[in-house]
Symmetry: C2
Subunit: 267 residues, 2 copies
């Protein structure tokens, strides 16, 4: 059996009891380590499980998945989906539902988008029409921010050197900057500097933090260590949602928040 | 401290290790028991926790929340959100993210809607414009279906008798029937008998089941015991999503599925 087990959002104890039992029954345990940055060390997981854990990076998952699936017909292996091997998924929290902690109702979210880092020559804006669709209807938009784990520099890649850059994660600030840049270019009024938003960072961890304000205001905030996400607030925000979102608005931004709320949301 | 702890989707072992530790530290444990039907008995939970569990029904939560919050400033209590008492939320899976198991990407879902039971005189369709908004953009729609727990009959309510009806849950079939009735009335072409959909039942439990087909076809299916949910598939379904959804389509519906896919999705 191959178990695909959700680890939850923060530390080793966010695994479910069912998931932990499954891990303990496994002969091999692989840790997917390139679509998210782990908030907990591999060593901590190993101590908690009482078993060795193998990091499965992009190379392994994309070029060497046979190793992971080897004899999973007969022994238990923890990790990743593949066909014609029995698979059991053990669900857990993810940002897609935990984002409800920011005070906005999950019912009122539209499509989720992903934001990648712009480079000199590549500034993709395929997410923009999706944000606009959400905003036109009045829905909230969850923006998930890029992370880079085990990426090679162009030089190292060209020379075939397996040297990797240190992991990095996009901040709320970079995301806001890129979004405002694209709005200025396209000028379709999907949102603007005065659009209300919430920086949601380290969700589900002890240092979880929500800061609300306009996009322009949040540009100046320091949100600290990863992981960061951003929510653009839709026009249909309910008065009870607004009450909670306002609680996350620092004193210095309150007057502006109230002014915009009165102008854009109460009418 | 008041702990708000997610129990997950299926049985007592879906709680996280962190959640279980919190429960074990609590002097009182309340079980919210009116917005969902528990898939596990209170007795099973009590045996697993080694502690008594109090059912908090609608009456208790709405009229007697002081009992729940009593001295939560000094002792640990497991359950429910309230102001000016320290609260810690322990996240877990919910249908809002676990629905990804049906093969459709969470990124491609629009607003979630709730479907209530129609009565002779009350046939609300405020969800209809929301479905239409999702459909116009091409997004999937998750429909959460009504459940009735500890409801009084009108007669018993009028006579002030605290006698409750047995719990009941809406089936995928009832939801489809009501949706098609409203489409016929409003005729705004938000969807129709040939719209592709997936009945998603008992998500996250060992008897989890997905059946895809047209709304009309699914009307005839027997999905069995609770809980049921329904997904209307949006026009923007990716070819990789379609491949998995097709796997959930029974042989007898396949020809129709392929015909509609060719007509509505491939063009």
């Amino acid at each position: 059996m191959l178990y695909v087990i959700g680890l939850g959002l923060s530390d080793e104890r966010d695994i479910t009891v069912k998931g932990l039992d499954a891990v303990k029954s496994c002969e091999r345990i692989y840790l997917e380590a390139y679509t998210s940055i782990l908030m907990v060390d591999k060593e901590k997981l190993e101590a908690f499980y009482g078993k060795p854990v193998t990091i499965a990076d992009r190379e392994m998952v994309e070029s060497d998945s046979d190793t992971i699936l080897n004899n999973a017909q007969t022994v238990n292996v923890a990790f990743l989906v593949e066909l014609s091997i029995p698979v059991e998924t053990i669900h857990n929290a993810s940002i897609m539902n935990a984002i409800g902690a920011c005070g906005l109702q999950l019912y009122n979210f539209g499509q989720t988008i992903s934001m990648v880092w712009f480079t000199e020559t590549w500034r993709p804006d395929s997410w923009y029409p999706r944000v606009k669709e959400n905003r036109d209807i009045g829905l909230h938009t969850l923006c998930l921010l890029d992370i880079k784990v085990k990426e090679q520099s162009i030089e190292n890649m060209a020379r075939g050197r397996l040297i990797y850059e240190p992991p990095r994660f996009m901040t709320v600030n970079t995301c806001l900057e890129q979004m405002l840049e694209i709005e200025e270019l396209r000028d379709e009024k999907a949102y603007g500097p005065e659009t209300l938003a919430i920086g949601c960072v380290r969700l589900g961890t002890p240092t979880q933090l929500f800061i609300s304000g306009t996009m322009e205001q949040l540009l100046e905030e320091d949100f600290g260590t990863p992981l960061h996400s951003l929510v653009l607030i839709g026009r249909r925000m309910h008065v009870m949602e607004a009450e909670m979102v306002r609680d996350f608005c620092p004193e210095k931004y309150r007057a502006k928040f109230d002014e915009i709320y009165k102008r854009d949301y109460e009418s």
